[in-house]
Symmetry: C2
Subunit: 357 residues, 2 copies
């Protein structure tokens, strides 16, 4: 795609929040990227404009039929003043996997990354510098055709917005308590669980609210067919260390192929720790906990990076893991991954993409 990106700069820069005020995804930078799609022109008119409301017909299909996908990735400021993105190609690849599942036309991945870089250069001074902070980037596509026919849209918008963030969880890297969900189901094989699409998150809210009311930070989903195999957590993949081996659910079509998950697997393997991607039943976890071999558990995701799990609640049984404390491997993974992301450790895997300006 050889389109030039038109740029309209704001004449009215916003005041930046101080680091202590940062909440996840609450403040947004001065500009956004947007481009349109229709059948004749394909993706066209890419432009960077001041951050502003979208003007959409109330019949736009996204409101009614949820034809929409999104991504989430982060940019960091390194101590030596560079701006880096963490594995952004993976996110645009996954965006297109999601697009495909949702019958949304593919986006040119290289062009999308180029657009993001241009946007980042413009809003570079929005990237916070303190430890644990970053600029969260949210590319998304919405179906805009104003029509109530329950069918694939003819028109779309692709948008990138950016938000300076602190830690996702108020608790920070402290272990979270997680509720194992036995009633509600998030996704099922044959469905859209492997896509990053709005409906998966809508389907999670009720269970999440119920868990939160009992003091649980997140829900651990079981599979929709047997209701016994571990899937993932709200917006994280999940890992366990059982008897010295790292295990995580295999990509089965109903969970997200997380970029953090993939990075953790590479790290763990590079350290020669035995590591398995496979089915894990909740009964197996229960047994491992009982016989003392469930050594650690943690969630992985762009927002929280690594989130140690201190307790699982399953059918009112409380499985306390690693004494409710952060485990050694969780810690090491967190330090290594955030160290690489912030440019403080060597980028051995070539994960960082540096902004040229």
């Amino acid at each position: 795609m050889a389109h030039n990106i038109e740029v309209e700069l704001t004449s009215n820069k916003k005041k930046k929040p101080v680091t202590e005020q940062l909440e996840f995804g609450k403040y947004f930078t001065d500009h956004m990227f947007i481009m349109d799609y229709d059948g004749e022109q394909g993706w066209h008119q890419p432009r960077i404009i001041p951050y502003q409301p979208l003007l959409l017909d109330p019949a736009a299909k996204v409101f009614h039929y949820g034809q929409t996908v999104f991504e989430g990735l982060k940019a960091y400021r390194t101590p030596d003043g560079r701006t880096v993105l963490f594995r952004p190609q993976k996110n645009f690849q996954r965006l297109n996997l999601s697009n495909d599942r949702l019958s949304i036309p593919a986006v040119d991945e290289e062009f999308a990354l180029e657009a993001l870089k241009q946007l980042l250069v413009i809003d570079q001074d929005w990237i916070p510098e303190e430890q644990g902070t970053s600029l969260y980037i949210r590319p998304f596509v919405i179906a805009t055709q104003p029509s109530l026919g329950a069918s694939t849209s003819t028109h779309y918008q692709f948008i990138i917005i950016m938000s300076p963030v602190g830690s996702y969880y108020a608790e920070g890297i402290h272990p979270v308590k997680i509720h194992v969900e036995s009633d509600y189901v998030r996704a099922v094989r044959g469905g859209v669980g492997m896509a990053k699409t709005a409906g998966n998150y809508a389907a999670s809210l009720r269970a999440q609210d119920t868990a939160a009311a009992s003091g649980y930070a997140q829900v651990l989903w079981l599979d929709g067919v047997h209701r016994k195999y571990i899937e993932e957590v709200g917006s994280m993949n999940v890992f366990f260390k059982i008897n010295g081996t790292v295990v995580t659910p295999a990509l089965n079509g109903s969970i997200l192929d997380g970029v953090t998950r993939n990075s953790i697997l590479q790290l763990v393997r590079s350290w020669n720790i035995p590591c398995e991607e496979r089915q894990i039943s909740i009964d197996e976890l229960y047994e491992a906990h009982k016989n003392g071999t469930l050594e650690e558990a943690w969630g992985t995701g762009t927002a929280a990076v690594i989130s140690p799990v201190g307790e699982l609640n399953w059918n009112n049984e409380r499985l306390v893991i690693h004494g409710g404390q952060t485990g050694e491997l969780s810690s090491k993974l967190y330090n290594t991954l955030t160290g690489i992301q912030r440019g403080e450790l060597k980028d051995e895997f070539g994960w960082l993409v540096q902004l040229s300006s």
Copy 2:
């Protein structure tokens, strides 16, 4: 709710489409109803305003996490000049069931109906009068909080838009061919299948497009667990007449409790035709077809009312039903229900709500 509804009339009335141009949900009336929700005020500021675009922050949760529900019902003009709604209370009840599943605050059902009536009075001349036409009404709720936290929104809008429509299917009451879906899954028990929420429809698009490419009008979904029990069609419940008995899938939590389905059940029972709500496997249908007892099949929904099924395609086997023609019972149900809806037959069940003006 004792709120007064503020009214701002348009100064710029649109040209109405002629009946032949009507497509489902493409044209919209001059006005819309809207009200807002926040934690302090609850639902507030109900107003009727000129039909206009929504202005939403790009971070509004509906775009990212699909927290949204909708309804669909119809208003008709009777030959003697009255304006009637078909069982609107059921739709607002169901809206609140969907709201509950999606963690959206309930709407006052009586007030919502009152608001709809006021909107209808204002746009009354948009209700087309020809046989087969009606005014399709789309109430919906969207989460508007501008925040990327994957959690329940603090702010919402409830909106009603209205669209003059002809027949939903280009084919009209002629039988449609339907593809029995063996790969993709729409919903599963424990999920949000019983709610009228965007994600269910997003999850259907891919299979629908694939079926359409092979000449099938709709997809018949099988259950997500066993992949063998009949669920429903795209936006219709489904009925079969097997050996003189009418059977339809029981409400199991993963299909919609259709208003048309409910009405058809009442009609069939009032005619003393044996009638069962139960699990039906695709194998049972296949057997019934083979031994000649699969007498009729039809879909039911607000948009199409009754849609006879002339053929089911299952694993490349074509099950032609009733010689590909509309069956007697399907016809009788269509004529009776549309007759009642248009005020031409006696409203024995008290289904119509008449506008007072």
